[in-house]
């Protein structure tokens, strides 16, 4: 029994943290927020060179052959400073290829995905708040040599950064996953609340996707990708929530009112302590879920629902109280704490909000 990270994982964490501080500080993040794509190709290449994009890809496909626990370490740290890198979207597209792709597709695609030579994203549901196969409405029709796709994927993360977009669709005999190039559809950036998480809609007007770009996709695959998507997002929530706590805690230590630091008042310090309890707790739940992805897949649904069910509400509250404890200065665009509030709102519905996850926990418990 060992519920800790290895020496290598600790080194990886240090490496990611240091690199992100230097290469993607808040001024860089804020500059990227002003662009539609939110994408910095040079930064992406560096991240690819560091090996983080191929972490879970087997060695014979050009990756490093590690596990989701390792990926979790990276996502926690890249999210600490709210980096807009499309790293989660890319990791989930990678997971989809690893799970659903043919041997040929894996051999052809994974090496370029491992280095970041191509940027990939994935979009599953078309209903804004419904985790169900029925929430996929992009339509696929069988035609000679492939599938004709018609409809709009309304919620595609990092749509403007991607070289390949993997889109879930509803075909005549069930679900499917199609990899398309950006020029095959119409991509429209959508102004989100959190500009560090750019997204767009993708409209396909009878586009024919050839066989080699189609992946079989079952409802079980969809459910699994939703679960690992929730693992990825919750890992980001841990890093971002810790940063928001740290930022607010530092402010409370140094802001003087009525002659003393506001952190001396229990109304402030006790809220900070409660935030610490929440972050520690959903972090522990997340680590267990991340371990389940590779080592106890049967336990993954319950484990990730406990983690994301806890984290979704707790982090949203941390975002609000982070701003609130800063007072008026926290309300300004100039201060960074408001960016964390926006991130917490972004993370809340992704791959299931707390209502959905906690209801699943109840169902798994026999209710």
């Amino acid at each position: 029994m060992n519920f800790g990270f290895t020496e290598e994982q600790n080194l990886l964490r240090e490496q990611v943290r240091r690199f992100m501080q230097e290469a993607c500080g808040m001024s860089t993040v804020r500059a990227l927020m002003k662009t539609d794509s939110g994408f910095d190709p040079a930064l992406w290449r560096q991240v690819g060179d560091l090996g983080w994009l191929g972490l879970t890809i087997p060695v014979d496909h050009g990756g490093i052959g590690l596990k989701w626990v390792d990926l979790t370490v990276v996502l926690e740290e890249t999210a600490r400073g709210l980096s807009p890198l499309p790293i989660v979207a890319h990791a989930l597209a990678t997971a989809a290829v690893l799970r659903c792709g043919s041997a040929k597709q894996q051999g052809d695609w994974l090496p370029a995905m491992a280095t970041g030579a191509v940027v990939c994203t994935i979009a599953l549901y078309d209903d804004p708040n419904w985790i169900s196969p029925d929430a996929i409405t992009l339509t696929g029709e069988r035609v000679a040599g492939g599938v004709r796709l018609t409809g709009t994927k309304r919620f595609v993360p990092d749509a403007l950064a991607a070289d390949y977009l993997m889109l879930a669709y509803r075909g005549p005999d069930g679900l499917g996953l199609a990899a398309i190039r950006p020029d095959q559809g119409t991509i429209k950036p959508q102004p989100g609340m959190d500009r560090t998480k750019p997204s767009g809609s993708v409209t396909l007007d009878g586009v024919i996707v050839t066989e080699d770009m189609l992946l079989p996709f079952s409802t079980a695959d969809l459910a699994w990708l939703t679960d690992v998507g929730a693992v990825a997002v919750t890992a980001e929530m841990v890093g971002a929530a810790e940063a928001a706590l740290h930022m607010t805690s530092e402010y409370a230590r140094t802001r003087i009112q009525f002659g003393k630091p506001i952190g001396q008042y229990q109304g402030v310090k006790h809220r900070l302590a409660d935030i610490f309890v929440d972050v520690e707790s959903f972090k522990s739940l997340l680590y267990y879920a991340a371990w389940c992805v590779d080592d106890a897949p049967d336990e993954l649904p319950r484990a990730i629902s406990l983690a994301k069910g806890y984290a979704s509400d707790a982090f949203a509250r941390i975002g609000i109280d982070g701003v609130g404890l800063h007072g008026a200065i926290g309300f300004t665009a100039e201060y960074d704490i408001q960016l964390y509030l926006k991130r917490s709102k972004w993370a809340r519905p992704m791959f299931g909000d707390s209502d959905w996850h906690l209801d699943r926990v109840a169902a798994l418990g026999g209710l």
Binding site: F3, A252, Q264, L272, S281, Y288, H357, A362
Partner: protein, 386 residues
């Protein structure tokens, strides 16, 4: 990261399970001498004071084995491994760390053998959370201390044989922490008067304890004069892994689920009420968080990394669960939930009504939630002290 146990650890778990199958009969089959036999058997196995050094009669067991032992005992709903809860939890560890050889010889075996029970004289009427301000005084008179003052909320005092007592031996206000001394006192000493206090659940296990010219031999002092605060802090810091508690809370959650399944609200099954489902799931998330927090901290201890005050995290989670879970059952079952044991409509024999009135045992004892929050904010987050 690896949740598998080693083969030695598996073997130890099997050993515990085998023992439990042989020596823990179902409740209704337990005879009058069951408890005595049980205590002797677990003592023979070396499971009482499991982590204590062998020279004191312990087993020098590792942290993981200890967690396994606690988990299995809790799963089997076994009785405690000793009747001296406080003796095992902090009096014993305190004596091993600060006691004289004579004290170790005299007290440790009796704690392990469940021959004496201890209570803890810390809180006073005016000094609860602000423990270091205690006023109960001890004045040196030859080879005795003469103790005068009062303690309160002393759990177990009505039946304890001994009390571990904090007294003030220096009265200069500047000497706040340094003026405290720790004494080990037989409850039969002349001048001690115990007045039980009835709590809101109707139980009488805590008490006021009055000391009038109580003479305590200097040989019964634990640690040096003025070292009492250190003794207390390090003994209380002898944190117990929370894994046994977690198992009990999962049990309680199971019982709550069963209750929900057979309960209707406004004529509809409670199990279909989204609020009910969500509340139960959030209990599960918090209990699971306690479990994995505990394992994470345990791993750090095994690796030799000192813990700061992280155990306060689980204390706060537990406090909220202790209050909310029983109360949930009471609210869920409406007027039936209000009936105490003996009521015709009492739910599960009045279990929930009764325990919903008992949470302060856990929530207030050993440091209120607000004190735990101070500890986290000041020691971990670096906020200024109040």
């Amino acid at each position: 990261m690896d949740f598998e146990y080693s083969s030695e650890e598996h073997a130890f778990r099997e050993e515990v399970r085998t023992f439990l199958r042989e020596h823990l009969p179902p409740r209704r089959e337990r005879g009058r001498d069951f408890m005595q036999t049980w205590l002797e058997k677990v003592r023979e196995k070396g499971w009482v004071g499991f982590s204590w050094p062998k020279e004191y009669g312990g087993s020098a067991g590792g942290l993981i084995e200890q967690a396994i032992l606690r988990e299995e005992m809790a799963l089997a709903k076994g009785p405690p491994l000793g009747t001296s809860f406080m003796g095992l939890a902090w009096v014993g560890p305190g004596i091993m760390q600060y006691g004289t050889d004579e004290q170790k010889r005299r007290f440790i075996p009796d704690i392990l053998d469940s021959k004496v029970s201890w209570c803890t004289g810390y809180s006073e009427p005016n000094h609860g959370s602000d423990l270091a301000a205690i006023q109960c005084k001890a004045v040196r008179d030859g080879d005795h201390y003469v103790v005068n003052g009062q303690k309160i909320w002393t759990s177990g005092a009505p039946w304890a044989d001994w009390i571990i007592l904090l007294v003030r031996t220096q009265f200069d206000p500047a000497a706040k922490h340094k003026g405290i001394t720790c004494l080990l006192v037989p409850m039969t000493t002349p001048g001690i008067e115990v007045r039980p206090i009835e709590n809101m659940a109707g139980d009488r296990h805590f008490a006021e304890v009055f000391f009038t010219d109580v003479r305590v031999p200097v040989a019964n002092r634990l640690g040096a004069e003025g070292e009492g605060w250190m003794v207390t802090v390090s003994a209380l810091a002898n944190e117990r892994s929370s894994i046994g508690e977690v198992t009990q809370m999962f049990d309680k959650l199971d019982a709550l689920r069963e209750l929900v399944k057979r309960t209707t609200r406004q004529g509809r099954p409670a199990s279909q009420d989204p609020k009910v489902r969500r509340t139960l799931a959030m209990f599960e998330a918090k209990i699971a968080a306690m479990k994995y927090n505990g394992l994470r901290y345990l791993t750090r201890q095994i690796k030799g990394e000192p813990l700061s005050s992280e155990t306060s995290v689980n204390k706060l989670l537990r406090a909220s669960l202790e209050i909310e879970m029983d109360d949930f059952a009471v609210e869920l079952t409406g007027q039936a939930g209000l009936q105490m044991p003996g009521g015709d409509a009492a739910v599960d024999g009045g279990r929930w009504a009764k325990s919903s009135l008992s949470w302060p045992n856990v929530v207030i004892g050993g440091g209120t939630p607000n004190i735990q929050r101070n500890i986290i904010a000041e020691r971990i987050l670096g906020q200024p002290k109040d």
